[in-house]
C-alpha cells in the first residue's frame, strides 16, 4: 500500500484528474500431467504495479514488474506522457461515474495457505487424480490433469481516497479423459475450483471429477453421429450456463453496448426472452469462482439483474460506461493482473431455476435432442449469433433418453433462442470457467438449471 500511495501522490503532483494504482504479489503453481508424465510444473512468483491516469479526458496506463522507486516513477511518467499525448486530440473525453471511496480489507477464507503446502504434495494430488481416471476402464487411452493455484496480496489506491487490500487465494483442477476403441474416440473435460486455501481440494473431490470424466468418455464410444435439423432441445446446466455467459453475457457488457457491438443495445425495458428467463451476473454469489467484493476500480460489486422474466433490465458496467450510459456503476470492471487495465467483465453469470423437474421437461418431448457439456464455440455479440459444440448428446424419444450422440452442436440467434425457452428445471448448478477478452483471462462462474428450447438448430457431423 505504501508503494501504491506514493504512486498516487506522484500522479497528483503531475496534474492527473484521476489516478489509481494496483500493486500485487502473486504466487502460483501450475502442474500438468499427461499420460502419467509431468509435462509441465512451474512455480511462479510475480509482483508488480499497474497505474492508470486520466488527464483531460484521456487515459494513460503503465505497468512494471519492478517495484523499485526509480522504476515506479519511470512507469508513472511514461503513463502520463501517453495520456497527455492522447489528450491533445481526443474528441470524446472519458468521464467516470461518481462513487463513494471505500477503505476495506478483504480476505479469502483460508485454512491451509497455498504457499505453505509443499509442491510435491500438489504433484501427488495431480498424479492420484490421473490414476483414478485411468483405472476406470481399459479403453481410457489418455488422461491429462491440470492443477493450478494462486494466492497473494493485492492493494488498490485511488486519487479519490479508496484504499483496498486483499488476500486472494484460489485453486482448480481440470481432468481431460480420452477413451479409444478401434477408430472411435471420446473426450470429456471435467473441472472444478474454489476461492479458498488448499483445503478446497477436499471439497471439490478431484477423484470424483476424474471418475466422472473417464466414465463419460467411455460412454461416448457408444455414441452415433447426431441428426441435423430443427429439434426441441434440452441443454444441461453446463451448456445452458455457457450459453448464458457467451451469447447473452458478453452482449450485456456495456463496452460492447456503447460501441454498438451488442445485439442488446438500446433494448433495456424491452422483451428479449420468454417469461421463464431470468438472468443475473452476480459478483456476490457465495463461494463463486468469479466472485469478488470490490471490482478492479474499487467499486463495491453487486448481483446485477440482466434479464427479469424475459425483459432486459441492465448491463454490466464499469465507471466509464456507467457515465456514458447515464446508469449507476455496478462494479463490473476486472483486470487479469496489475499488468492489465480493467475492462468490463462478467463474474458469475447464470439463468435462475424454475419449478419443474428434469423428467417433466423430458415428458412432453416426442422427438428431441438432449445436449450435455460444452467443447466451446463461437459467438458474434454484434449480430447476436452463436454456435456451441456439446460434449455429449442423447436422442429424446417419447420422453425418454435413448441413443447417445457424438459431435452435436447447437447454433442459432441469441434473442430468438431466449424467446424459445419454454421449460426451466429446478436443478440449478454452477460451474467454473476462464473467460478471455481484450487479451486478458479472468475466472468466471457459469450456471443454469436444465433448460428446454423449442425449434433449435442442431448440427451433426
Amino acid at each position: 500500500m505504501r508503494i501504491a500511495e506514493k504512486a498516487i501522490s506522484l500522479c497528483k503532483k503531475l496534474g492527473a484528474d484521476y489516478a489509481d494504482a494496483r500493486v500485487e504479489r502473486t504466487y502460483s503453481t501450475d502442474i500438468r500431467l499427461m499420460k502419467d508424465t509431468f509435462d509441465q510444473v512451474a512455480s511462479g512468483a510475480d509482483q508488480g504495479l499497474g497505474i492508470r491516469v486520466l488527464y483531460k479526458g484521456a487515459w494513460g496506463f503503465g505497468s512494471s514488474t519492478s517495484l523499485e522507486l526509480r522504476d515506479v516513477s519511470r512507469t508513472i511518467r511514461g503513463a502520463f506522457k501517453a495520456a497527455k499525448a492522447t489528450a491533445t486530440h481526443a474528441k470524446e473525453k472519458a468521464r467516470l461515474a461518481e462513487i463513494s471511496p471505500v477503505k476495506d480489507v478483504v480476505r479469502a477464507t483460508v485454512k491451509d495457505p497455498m504457499q505453505s503446502v509443499p509442491i510435491d504434495r500438489k504433484m501427488k494430488l495431480t498424479l492420484e487424480t490421473s490414476e483414478e481416471a485411468t483405472k476406470i476402464d481399459k479403453r481410457i487411452a489418455s488422461v491429462t490433469v491440470t492443477y493450478s493455484d494462486s494466492s497473494g496480496e493485492t492493494c488498490l489506491a485511488t486519487s479519490e481516497g479508496t484504499r483496498l487490500t486483499g488476500r486472494p487465494s484460489r485453486g482448480s483442477i481440470v481432468v481431460v479423459a480420452v477413451a479409444r476403441e478401434g477408430t472411435k474416440v471420446g473426450a470429456i473435460r471435467e473441472r472444478n475450483g474454489m476461492q479458498a486455501g488448499f483445503e478446497l481440494f477436499e471439497k471439490i473431490d478431484p477423484l470424483g471429477l476424474a471418475r466422472r470424466a473417464a466414465e463419460r468418455a467411455v460412454r461416448l464410444l457408444e455414441a452415433v453421429p447426431a441428426p441435423s435439423g430443427r429439434f426441441t432441445v434440452i441443454a444441461d446446466q453446463k451448456l445452458a450456463g455457457v450459453f448464458a455467459h457467451e451469447a447473452v453475457g458478453h452482449a450485456s457488457e456495456a463496452d460492447h453496448v456503447v460501441t454498438g457491438e451488442s445485439v442488446l443495445k438500446g433494448k433495456v425495458g424491452q422483451r428479449v426472452g420468454s417469461d421463464l428467463v431470468t438472468m443475473y451476473d452476480d459478483s456476490t454469489y457465495a463461494d463463486g469462482w468469479g466472485s469478488s467484493q470490490y471490482d478492479s476500480e474499487g467499486v463495491p460489486t453487486k448481483r446485477r439483474l440482466i434479464i427479469e422474466k424475459g425483459f432486459l433490465r441492465g448491463y454490466i458496467l464499469n465507471r466509464e460506461t456507467a457515465a456514458e450510459l447515464n446508469m449507476d456503476p455496478n462494479g463490473g470492471a476486472r483486470a487479469q493482473s496489475f499488468a492489465y487495465r480493467p475492462v468490463v467483465r462478467m463474474s458469475n453469470t447464470y439463468l435462475t431455476a424454475g419449478d419443474r423437474s428434469f423428467q417433466e421437461l423430458l415428458d412432453d418431448v416426442d422427438a428431441g435432442v438432449y445436449l450435455k457439456g460444452s467443447r466451446g464455440g463461437q459467438v458474434d455479440t454484434a449480430k447476436g449469433t452463436f454456435q456451441f459444440s456439446a460434449e455429449e448428446g442423447y436422442l429424446i424419444e417419447k420422453g425418454q433418453l435413448t441413443r447417445p450422440l457424438s459431435d452435436v452442436s447447437l447454433s442459432g440467434l441469441t434473442l430468438e433462442t431466449l424467446l424459445n425457452i419454454d421449460g426451466v428445471a429446478d436443478d440449478f448448478q454452477i460451474s467454473i470457467g476462464l473467460c478471455g477478452k481484450a487479451g486478458q483471462v479472468v475466472a468466471t462462474g457459469m450456471g443454469s438449471p436444465h433448460v428446454r428450447i423449442r425449434n433449435a438448430v442442431v448440427g451433426g457431423k
Partner: protein, 459 residues
C-alpha cells in the same frame, strides 16, 4: 554475467541441482490503441523476469524442475529454486535427459537494435497513430477504424552452470489497422499489419492506407460458386497457417513423440520442387534474428526443405541429446494460445525466421498468371487445425475473385479444407514481394505471396 544470475546458479547447485540454467528478459514496451477513429489509450509496460531451471541426476536418468520470478530478492529467488529442485526430485526420471546446453561460441547478429526506438516516446506513437487514422479515413465510406502501434526494447540473457553466458539487445516496432467501410447497406472489411525491428513509421501509414483501400474494395461482395480454385495467399495468412500446422510438424519434440505426419520423412520429397524453406536467424535486421536460442545454443542457418526435399527437424538440447544429433539451436519459449512472458515458460521448440525462398516478379504479375482463382489475405480458425493429421478447415478473410489474371469482385464468405504438408506439393507460383510477419515472440515468417493450385473451396 549479472550478480543475480550468478547468485541463482550457485544457489541451485547448493540446493542439490546437478546443473542449473537461468533465462532472463527485461522489456520495455509502449503502445497506443486506436478505437472508434480515435487514438484512445497509451500504455507503457516494463516486464522483467527470470525463469530458473534445474537438472537433478538420478540412477536411471535425470529430471528438470522449473520456476520463475519477477521479484529478484534473495528470499524469493531461494524459494523458487527450492521448489524447482523439489519438483525435479518428485518427477519420474527421464533416461533421455542428459544435460543442459554446453558452452559454445556464438556469433553476433547484425542490426536487430535500432537506437532511434530508444529515443522515441509515447507522444511520437500518438502522432504516428494520427497519421495512420488520417490515411485510413480518406474515403468517406470508411465507418470504423481501429488498430494499434507498438514499440519495444528488450534485453535477453541466458546463463547456465556449464559455462553458457550471453545476452543481446533487440528492438521491435509494429502496428496493425482494421478498417470497416459501409455503403448502401453493404459492409467491407480490410486490414493490414507491419512488423519490424526498426522504426518505420511511414510503413505503418502505408499499411493503414492499404487496409482502408481493401475495406472499400470489399464492398458489395458476391457469393462464390463452390469448386476448385487456384488460391493466392498473402503473407499474413500464410504465417498463421504455417504456425498452426507446419511449424508444429517440424518440431523434433513432437516428431519424437510420433505426433507429426512428417515423422520418418527426412530425405523425401514433401513439397513441390520450387519450395525451399530455411530457418535463418542470421538475416540482418529480421524479427527473429538472434545469436543464441533460449537455452544459449548458438543459432545458425538451417535448411528445412530444399527444392521440396525435407532436410531437418528443429531441435533443442533435449531432443538433440536424445537422438544423438547436433542441436539446431531452436529452443524457444512460447505458448500457442494467449500470451505469457517468455521467462515464465519452459523451453519448447520453434523457428526463428522461417524464410520461404521468393520467386520472380511482382504480386500483380503472379495474379496475372491465375486463370480461375481467388486472392486471400488471411484465415480464420487456423488454431483449430489438427497438427497430428495436418487436416485443417479454414474460413477465408478478405477474399477477391481472380478471373483470367485480374481481380474481378470481392467474395462473400468462403472456406477451404486441406492438409499440411500435402498442400506444399501444390505451391506452384511465388512472387518476389518479400514481407516479414510475426508468428510469436522472436519468431517470423519471411515470405512472398504464393499461389497454391487446385484447392477445394466451399461457400
Amino acid at each position: 554475467m549479472s550478480e543475480t544470475l550468478d547468485f541463482v546458479l550457485k544457489r541451485c547447485i547448493r540446493l542439490g541441482a546437478a546443473q542449473a540454467e537461468a533465462f532472463e528478459t527485461d522489456e520495455v514496451g509502449t503502445n497506443i490503441v486506436i478505437e472508434k477513429k480515435q487514438v484512445k489509450i497509451g500504455q507503457v509496460k516494463r516486464d522483467h523476469g527470470m525463469g530458473i531451471r534445474v537438472l537433478v541426476k538420478k540412477d536411471d536418468g535425470a529430471s528438470t524442475g522449473f520456476g520463475y520470478v519477477t521479484d529478484f530478492s534473495r528470499t524469493t529467488v531461494t524459494e523458487a529454486v527450492e521448489k524447482a529442485v523439489t519438483t525435479a526430485k518428485m518427477k519420474r526420471a527421464d533416461k533421455d535427459l542428459k544435460s543442459f546446453q554446453e558452452k559454445a561460441r556464438t556469433r553476433k547478429v547484425a542490426d536487430i537494435f535500432d537506437e532511434r526506438i530508444s529515443r522515441t516516446d509515447p507522444s511520437d506513437l500518438v502522432e504516428i497513430g494520427r497519421s495512420m487514422l488520417e490515411e485510413a479515413c480518406k474515403d468517406s465510406r470508411v465507418s470504423t477504424v481501429s488498430g494499434s502501434v507498438h514499440m519495444g526494447i528488450g534485453e535477453t540473457s541466458v546463463a547456465n552452470s556449464l559455462g553458457v553466458s550471453g545476452s543481446y539487445r533487440s528492438t521491435a516496432f509494429s502496428g496493425h489497422m482494421y478498417v470497416v467501410a459501409e455503403s448502401g447497406g453493404s459492409v467491407g472489411v480490410g486490414w493490414e499489419t507491419h512488423s519490424s525491428t526498426h522504426y518505420e513509421s511511414e510503413k505503418l501509414v502505408g499499411a493503414a492506407g492499404y487496409a482502408a483501400d481493401t475495406a472499400v474494395r470489399q464492398l458489395n461482395p458476391r457469393p462464390l460458386e463452390p469448386g476448385i480454385y487456384d488460391v493466392v495467399v498473402d503473407q499474413d495468412g500464410l504465417a498463421d497457417l504455417f504456425m498452426n500446422t507446419l511449424v508444429q510438424q517440424i518440431r523434433a519434440d513432437l516428431v519424437q513423440r510420433n505426433q507429426s505426419p512428417l515423422t520418418g520423412k527426412i530425405g523425401s520429397q514433401v513439397a513441390s520442387e520450387n519450395v525451399t524453406l530455411i530457418d535463418d536467424p542470421t538475416v540482418p535486421g529480421a524479427l527473429g534474428s538472434k545469436p543464441f536460442d533460449s537455452e544459449g545454443c548458438p543459432t545458425g542457418r538451417r535448411p528445412i526443405v530444399e527444392k521440396g526435399i525435407l532436410r531437418t527437424f528443429l531441435h533443442n538440447s533435449y531432443t538433440a541429446n536424445k537422438e544423438g544429433v547436433k542441436n539446431t539451436g531452436n529452443s524457444m519459449r512460447y505458448i500457442m494460445f494467449g500470451t505469457r512472458s517468455e521467462y515464465a515458460l519452459e523451453p519448447i521448440i520453434g523457428p526463428h525466421n522461417l524464410v520461404l525462398k521468393p520467386g520472380k516478379g511482382r504480386r500483380d504479375d503472379l495474379i496475372r498468371e491465375v486463370r480461375n482463382g481467388i486472392l486471400v489475405k488471411g484465415f480464420i480458425g487456423a488454431h483449430t487445425s489438427n497438427v497430428q493429421s495436418g487436416d485443417f478447415s479454414l474460413a477465408l478473410d478478405c477474399v477477391f475473385r481472380i478471373e483470367n489474371g485480374s481481380l474481378t469482385f470481392p467474395v462473400k464468405q468462403a472456406m477451404i479444407g486441406g492438409n499440411m504438408p500435402s498442400i506444399l506439393r501444390q505451391i506452384r507460383l511465388k512472387a518476389a514481394n518479400v514481407k516479414q510477419v510475426t508468428m510469436g515472440p522472436g519468431m517470423a515468417l519471411i515470405s512472398p505471396t504464393i499461389m497454391i493450385e487446385k484447392l477445394t473451396v466451399a461457400a
